[in-house]
Symmetry: C2
Subunit: 539 residues, 2 copies
C-alpha cells in the first residue's frame, strides 16, 4: 500500500476541489461576510507564501491571538502550509502567562486581532523573540503601535502567491500545532499536535456515531479557535466541505441565537456556560432553532437540567463530550446506542448527563485503588487514555508524571457503567481517600448545592490521623438562611443519599468560596487554610 503522509493541507485541497462554492460565514469587527472555500483556499495559499517570504522556516512557531473568523481559519491551514507550527494562544490567560507561553514556544511571528492588540502591546518588552506582528484587521490602515515591525494582514496576503503549492512530502509526525493548557497551578504546559494526530482526529469527528460532521451541516464552533483548535472542528468541517459560521469577537447569547436562526446552523459546539446563556435567551426571545440537529457540549460537565431543557423543551439533541487540551480534544462522546433509543425520557437524560464512551481510535482504562475498576457504575478510578491524538509529553517539560507506559493519566476520576459509559466524579487531586476507599467531592457538592438554604458548597479532603483523609464540607448559606441551618441539619440531609462513611465529619460555614479567575472553586486555597481542621478537632 502507498504510504501517503497524513497532512493537514490535504484537507483544504479537498475542499477547494470538491466544495469550491461552499462557504464560511465570518463575523469580524466590521460585520458579517462570506468566503467560499475557493476564496479561502486562495487566501490561505497567499498567506503561506507570504509567511515564507517573511522568513518563516520549517518548524518555526507562528502564534495567533484571535477570535473565530475566516482569517483565523486561513491561519489554521496557512501556517502549516508554510511548514510552520500554528500556535493558538488563549487570550483569556493572564498577561504573565501569555508572555510565558509566547517565549516558551519561541513564537517567531504573531497574528493578532485588532481588539486584542492592547493585550499584546503591554507585553512588548517581555517577548523579545517575536520578529514580526501581523494585524488581522478590517481597517485599511494599521493603527499606531509600539509593536514593530507590524504588517497588515490583507496587504501581506495580497503580496502572496495564490497558486502556492503545499508540500505533499512532509513527515506526518511533524508538529502542526500547539496549544497550552490553562494550568491551575504553575506555568501553562504546551501540547504539540502533529499532522497525523490532527488528520486522524478529524476523521473521528466525521464518523456518523461521533460528531458526524457532514457536507450538509452548517456548523458553528462557539468554542474559541484559541482553545484546543475549537475542538478540531474547523479542520474537519473544511475537509468535509461543511459550511462554517464563525461568530467572531465578543459574541452574546442574543447574537448566537440570531446566527443559529439566520444561518440555519445544524451543529453548534461550545462549553456549558455558552449554552446556559443561550437557553436564557431562547426562553426570553422567539427564535427558530429547528435547523439544529445537535448541540455539542464539552469542557466541563453540563448540568442535567440544562440538557433536559434543550432536549425536551427545544427538541435539540444534546451531545455531551469529554476531552482536554492533551487529547485534541475529542476522546469520549455521549451518543445513545441503538438499544437505548426506546428508554424513557428520564433514563435517556441520565445517559445524556454522563460523558459517554470512547470514540473509535481511542482506548481507555480506569485505574482504581485496586487496579482496573469494575464496570458497575460505582467503583471509581482514574481515567487513562491511549490514542494517536493524545499527547505523550508536554513541550520542553521534564514532568512526565501524567504519562506512564504509553498512557495518559488524565487526573479525572470516573465511574464506568456496563456499557462502557464514563461519568466524571472528581479530579484525582480533589478526591477524598478515606480508609482505603474513595469519596467523590463532586457528588457531595452536587447534593449540598441542591439544598434549598445553600448558596454554594465545596467539599475538600482534610488529613485525618486515623482515616488518612476525611471530607470537610465548606458551605455558604443563602442570605436569608443563616441561623437556622446547623452542621447537624446538613449531615442529616446528606445521610439518606450516601453511605455512612461518606458523610463529612464537620461543616464549615463561610461567607464565600475562593475562586479562580474563570470562576472555578479554588479548592487548593481552602485545603491550605483548613488543612489542620481534623487534627485540631481530634486534639
Amino acid at each position: 500500500m502507498m504510504n501517503v503522509p497524513l497532512r493537514v493541507t490535504m484537507m483544504l485541497e479537498h475542499a477547494e476541489r470538491y466544495f469550491p462554492k461552499k462557504y464560511v460565514t465570518s463575523r469580524t469587527m466590521s460585520g458579517i461576510r462570506r468566503f467560499t472555500y475557493r476564496e479561502i483556499g486562495e487566501r490561505t495559499r497567499r498567506l503561506s507564501s507570504a509567511l515564507v517570504k517573511l522568513g518563516v522556516q520549517k518548524g518555526d512557531k507562528v502564534g495567533t491571538l484571535a477570535w473565530n473568523h475566516h482569517r483565523h481559519l486561513e491561519a489554521y491551514f496557512g501556517i502549516p502550509g508554510a511548514e510552520a507550527v500554528l500556535h493558538t494562544i488563549n487570550i483569556r490567560l493572564s498577561p504573565e502567562h501569555i508572555a510565558y507561553i509566547i517565549n516558551h514556544a519561541e513564537d517567531k511571528i504573531l497574528l493578532i486581532d485588532q481588539d486584542i492588540l492592547p493585550l499584546v502591546e503591554v507585553l512588548k518588552d517581555h517577548i523579545p523573540n517575536v520578529e514580526a506582528f501581523v494585524l488581522m484587521t478590517d481597517d485599511d490602515k494599521l493603527p499606531e503601535s509600539p509593536l514593530q515591525p507590524m504588517y497588515h494582514y490583507e496587504e501581506l496576503i495580497a503580496g502572496g502567491d495564490p497558486s502556492y503549492t503545499f508540500n505533499d512530502k512532509i513527515d506526518e509526525n511533524d508538529p502542526v500545532g500547539m496549544c497550552y493548557t490553562s494550568a491551575t497551578t504553575g506555568n501553562p504546559k504546551g501540547v504539540t499536535y502533529t499532522h497525523r494526530s490532527t488528520v486522524l482526529h478529524s476523521l473521528a469527528l466525521g464518523l456518523t456515531d461521533s460528531g458526524g460532521v457532514s457536507e450538509s451541516d452548517i456548523i458553528m464552533p462557539v468554542v474559541p479557535m484559541f482553545h484546543v483548535n475549537a475542538w478540531g472542528l474547523p479542520f474537519a468541517a473544511t475537509w468535509f466541505g461543511t459550511s462554517q459560521v464563525m461568530p467572531g469577537p465578543q459574541f452574546t447569547p442574543k447574537l448566537l441565537a440570531e446566527l443559529i436562526e439566520m444561518e440555519q446552523v445544524t451543529l453548534a459546539a461550545g462549553v456549558p456556560t455558552i449554552w446556559l446563556g443561550l437557553l436564557r435567551e431562547l426562553d426570553q426571545g422567539s427564535y427558530d432553532t429547528s435547523s439544529l440537529r445537535a448541540i455539542l457540549c464539552g469542557g466541563s460537565a453540563a448540568p442535567r437540567g440544562m440538557i433536559k431543557a434543550f432536549e425536551q423543551k427545544y427538541n435539540i439533541p444534546f451531545i455531551h463530550a469529554y476531552g482536554m487540551t492533551e487529547t485534541s480534544p475529542l476522546v469520549v462522546l455521549s451518543r445513545l446506542k441503538s438499544h437505548q433509543m426506546d428508554l424513557d425520557q428520564e433514563a435517556i437524560l441520565d445517559i445524556r448527563a454522563m460523558q459517554g464512551y470512547v470514540v473509535p481510535g481511542v482506548e481507555m482504562k480506569v485505574i482504581g485503588a485496586n487496579g482496573e475498576v469494575k464496570w458497575d457504575g460505582q467503583e471509581m478510578g482514574e481515567l487513562a487514555l491511549r490514542s494517536n491524538w493524545v499527547c505523550d509529553e508536554y513541550y520542553k517539560d521534564d514532568d512526565k508524571s501524567a504519562f506512564s507506559d504509553g498512557w495518559l493519566y488524565t487526573g479525572d476520576v470516573v465511574t464506568v457503567d456496563e456499557e462502557g459509559t464514563i461519568k466524571i466524579v472528581d479530579r484525582t487531586k480533589d478526591l477524598i481517600k478515606s480508609g482505603g476507599e474513595w469519596i467523590s467531592s463532586v457528588d457531595l457538592e452536587n447534593a449540598l448545592m441542591a439544598h434549598e438554604d445553600i448558596f454554594e458548597a465545596s467539599v475538600i479532603a482534610i488529613p485525618h490521623p486515623e482515616w488518612q483523609e476525611r471530607p470537610l464540607a465548606c458551605v455558604v448559606l443563602k442570605p436569608e438562611a443563616p441561623g437556622r441551618v446547623t452542621k447537624q441539619d446538613i449531615q442529616d440531609y446528606l445521610r439518606p443519599m450516601f453511605a455512612k462513611w461518606w458523610i463529612p465529619d464537620d461543616v464549615v460555614f463561610l461567607s464565600e468560596i475562593p475562586k479562580t479567575s474563570v470562576g472555578k472553586f479554588l479548592k487548593r486555597a481552602l485545603r491550605d487554610r483548613l488543612k489542620d481542621h481534623y487534627s485540631v478537632i481530634n486534639n
Copy 2:
C-alpha cells in the same frame, strides 16, 4: 502525540468492550444463527491462539475459501490476531488460477467451507506448500478427504485460548491481508493490504458522507468476503458495533429479500447483478424493504434504469461507488451534495448514475492526451489515484506499469464534471484513439444496445493506416431482425447522437460476441480476429 499503531485487532477489541451484545446474524449450510460480538471476540481469540499452536508465525499467509458467515468474520480478525496475513481467495476463479495464487502467496494453511471442499480437493497435488486444512463446517465430524492434515474448525478453536491477547506493538505497515485481482489476461496479481490501510479505509467507510456505517445500522454485505474483503465492510461494521447479516453460501434474490425484511437490514452492499436480481424479486413478490436506508453498489457501472427503479419505485437511495482490488476498494462514491438535493428527479438520477467523487483521504487526477483534463464532463482521461489505501505494487511482481510517481493508474477512462464527479467511459485498453482524439467504446456500445433490433454489441479499436485507430462495431442482431438491418442503418442510427468522427467506419455482424468466464465481453479476442479489418478494406 502518541504514535499508536493503527491495527485491525483494535477494531474487534472496541466491539467487544462497547458493543458486546450487538450481534452478527450468520447463515451457514445448516441455517441461520446469531453470535454476539462478545462471542465473536472470544471465538476469534481462540482461533488466533489455535493458529499459533498450529505453527503459524508472523507474516505467514493463511488462505480462506469461504462464503460470508461468522466463521469467515472470525478469520478476518483471528488470522491478523495471530500476526499472520488473511489471504481471501476468490472461489469463482478457475482451478488453475486458484492453485496459482495459493502457490504464489505461499499459503501455509487454508480455511475452507464444506461446500467448497471439492474445489480444493482437485488441487491436492498442485499446492504442495499448504501444511494444513481447516474445514469450516456445521457437521460434528469431518468428511473423508484426501486433503491432510485436516482440522475441524470448531474443534480447533475449542482448544484455543478465549483470553488470548492481541499484540498491540505491531508495525502498522505490516501486511494484514491479501487479495488477487481476477485478471482478464495472464495470471492474477496480488494486492497486499496493511493494518494502516485497512484501518484508514474503515474510517472512510464510517464517515457520514461516505458509507456512513453506524452502530445503528444493520448491514448486509452481499459482496463476497472473498472479493476485496467485502469492500472492507466487515472491518468497519465490527469496529463501529454495527449488526451484520451474513447471507452465507449460494444465496438467491428471494433469500436476500427475505433477509432484508426479516432482519430489518438498513444498508446492503453488492454488485449490479445482485440488485438486478433483487429488483425482479421485489417486483414479483411482496416484501417490506422500508428498513433500507441505502443500497451500496459497485464493481461495475449500474444501469440508470435500475437506479431509477430502486430510487423511485422502492424509495431506496442508491449509492453508486467505484473501486478496485487495488484500492481496498472504496475511493469514489456518489453522494448528492447539499446543493443538489433540490434538483429534479431526472437530474438526480444523472448524478446517481455517475461514479461520484473521491472520499476524504483519496486524491485523484485524470490524465488525458494533453495532460490533466478539464473538469467539463467531456474531456476523457485515465483516472489516477493516490491514497493510503491504494496499492503501489503487486505482490512479487516486476510489472510496475500501473504505478508512476507515487500514483496508481487505474486503466479506467473517465470524464470529470465541474463538481469533480467522475463518469467511467471506458477502459484505456478499449478506448479508441483516432487522429489524436479519444472515442469511448462504451458510449457507442450503450447506444447500439439500445437499438430495438440489436441483441448485443461491442465496439473495438482497429488499427487504421491514416487515423491510427478507428472504431469497428461488432453487432449481434436479435433473431427476428436479420436481413432488414444494414451497416448503413446502424450508422444512420448513431449519427444524431455522436460527433461525425465517432461513427464506426464499418459494422461487422456476428452470431455472438466472445465472452469471459464471468460473462464480460472478450474484446481482446475480437481485436485479434479483426485487427486487419481496416487495412483490408483500404486495400
